[in-house]
Subunit: 220 residues, 2 copies
DNA sequence: TAAAACGGATAGTAGGACTATCCACTATCC
DNA sequence: GGATAGTGGATAGTCCTACTATCCGTTTTA
C-alpha cells in the first residue's frame, strides 16, 4: 500500500499522516527507496484507532500518545493499560475545592468497599464534581442545605443510584475481557472499552433520559 | 459587592469576568457611576456555574452560552432545557461512517421501545461509537467477525448491558426532579444533572472498574 | 491628594491540531 | 524516454479557543 491508498482508505490527508509519524503516533512505513515507503493494514488500523480516540473519544493527541504507548509496550499488563486509558479519559482538572472534597470521596469509596489506588485520577474527577455541586447549592438553588454534619449522607444519597447501576456493569465488563489470543488485542479492547464506551454510555444515558422524559410527560 | 470581592470569591481574574460580561455569559453589574458597578450573589453564583460547566463539565464557551441561554429563557420548559444540555454534552462529531450506523441505532432504540426525537444528537454520538468500533474490528482485533446479517444482534449484545443499567437510572433521575419552587432552579438542576453527572458517571465507572479489576486479580 | 481600583475597549498570547509549501527525488503513463 | 504526478522529510504557517495584558479616563479610598 502506498501513501495515496493509505490516506484515501483512512480518510485523512497525507500531511496528517506524516505528522502522526513524526510525533510517534504511527510507525514509519517500510522504506523502499530514499523517498518511497510501503504501508500495510497495520498502518491503516492504527490510523483508524487514532482517529477513533481523537474524534469519537475526544482525547487530545498527547493523551492518545500515552494510551498507545501503553498499548504498544509488551511489558505492560492489562492493569497498566487500563490505568493509562483511565488517565487519558480523566479530565484531570483541579476545580477550586477539589482537594477538600477528596476525603469525602475516599470515605464514600470505603463505605462501598471499593478498593482503588491512591493515584487513580477518577478519585479527583469525582471530587471535582462534588466540589462544584457543593459550591452551587448555596443561597440560590439551595436544596434544604444540610448542616454539613451529614454532608457524607448527602453524597451517598446522590451517588448511590449511580454506583449501584455501575458496579455490576463494571464487574461484567471486567469479567467479559477474554483471555486474549495475543496481548495487543486485549490491550486495544481495554482502551476501546474505556474510551469509546464512555461516549456510548453518555449517549445512551441521554437517550434513556429523553425516553423517560417523554414517558413521564405522556402520563400527565 | 465590588469587582475585587467578586473575583476573589469566584477565583477568576477581573479580565475574565469582563470578558464573560462582554460575550454575554454574565450580566453586567448594576452601574453606580461611569466606571463603577455593584455585583451581587447572583453574579457570584453565575460565575461558579460557568466555571463548573467549563472546567468540570468540559463544555466549550459556546456550548455554555447556549445552555445558559436556555436556562435564562423563561419561555423554555424543562424539556427544552434538557435538550439544550444534551446538545451541549454531545460531541457532535461526524466520524467517517456515522451516517451509515444511524439506522442500526434507530433499530436498536425501536427494539428497546425507547422514544427519542429525530434530532437528538445522542443518536449520532452513539452511531459514531458503533461506526468506529465496526471499523476497528477488521483484520486485526477481529472478534469472530459475524456475517453482517446479524450485525444488529452484535450491537444489541454490546449495548444491552449498558442500556439495562442506564434505563432505570434515567427513569429515577427524571422522576427525582422536583416540581421546582421556581423554574430557574429546576433548569439549573437539569443542566447540572446532565453535564456534571456525566463526569461523575465516567469517574464512578472507572472507579468501579478498578475495583472489579483488583477483585478479579485477588481471586486468582 | 496620591495611590489603588474600576469599566470598557483593543490587542496580544499560549496551546492544540493540523495544513501548506518546499525540495529532491521516484513511479508511472503514453 | 520524457512529461506528469506522487513521495518522504522538513519547516513554517494557519485557525481556533479561551483567555490575558495593556491602556485610558474616572472614581474610590486611605
Amino acid at each position: 500500500m502506498r501513501m495515496a491508498d493509505l490516506t484515501s482508505r483512512a480518510g485523512v490527508s497525507s500531511a496528517t499522516v506524516k505528522w502522526y509519524i513524526r510525533i510517534g503516533l504511527l510507525p514509519r512505513g517500510e522504506s523502499t527507496a530514499r523517498n518511497q515507503a510501503r504501508y500495510d493494514e497495520r498502518h491503516l488500523h492504527r490510523i483508524r484507532l487514532i482517529r477513533a480516540l481523537l474524534e469519537v473519544g475526544g482525547l487530545t493527541v498527547e493523551q492518545t500518545q500515552q494510551v498507545l504507548a501503553a498499548v504498544d509496550d509488551p511489558e505492560r499488563g492489562a492493569a497498566d493499560v487500563a490505568a493509562a486509558a483511565h488517565a487519558a479519559v480523566s479530565r484531570r482538572v483541579a476545580h477550586q475545592h477539589t482537594a477538600e472534597a477528596l476525603p469525602a470521596v475516599d470515605r464514600y469509596l470505603a463505605a462501598r468497599k471499593w478498593t482503588v489506588g491512591e493515584s487513580s485520577p477518577a478519585r479527583a474527577d469525582l471530587a471535582a464534581v462534588l466540589a462544584a455541586l457543593r459550591l452551587l447549592s448555596g443561597p440560590i438553588g439551595n436544596d434544604d442545605a444540610s448542616p454539613a454534619a451529614d454532608a457524607d449522607a448527602d453524597i451517598a444519597r446522590l451517588l448511590d443510584p449511580y454506583a449501584d447501576a455501575l458496579e455490576p456493569l463494571a464487574r461484567s465488563e471486567v469479567a467479559g475481557l477474554p483471555p486474549a489470543v495475543h496481548r495487543g488485542e486485549l490491550a486495544e479492547r481495554i482502551v476501546l472499552g474505556t474510551v469509546l464506551m464512555d461516549q456510548a454510555i453518555s449517549a445512551l444515558r441521554r437517550l434513556a433520559q429523553e425516553n423517560a422524559f417523554t414517558a413521564a410527560a405522556d402520563r400527565k
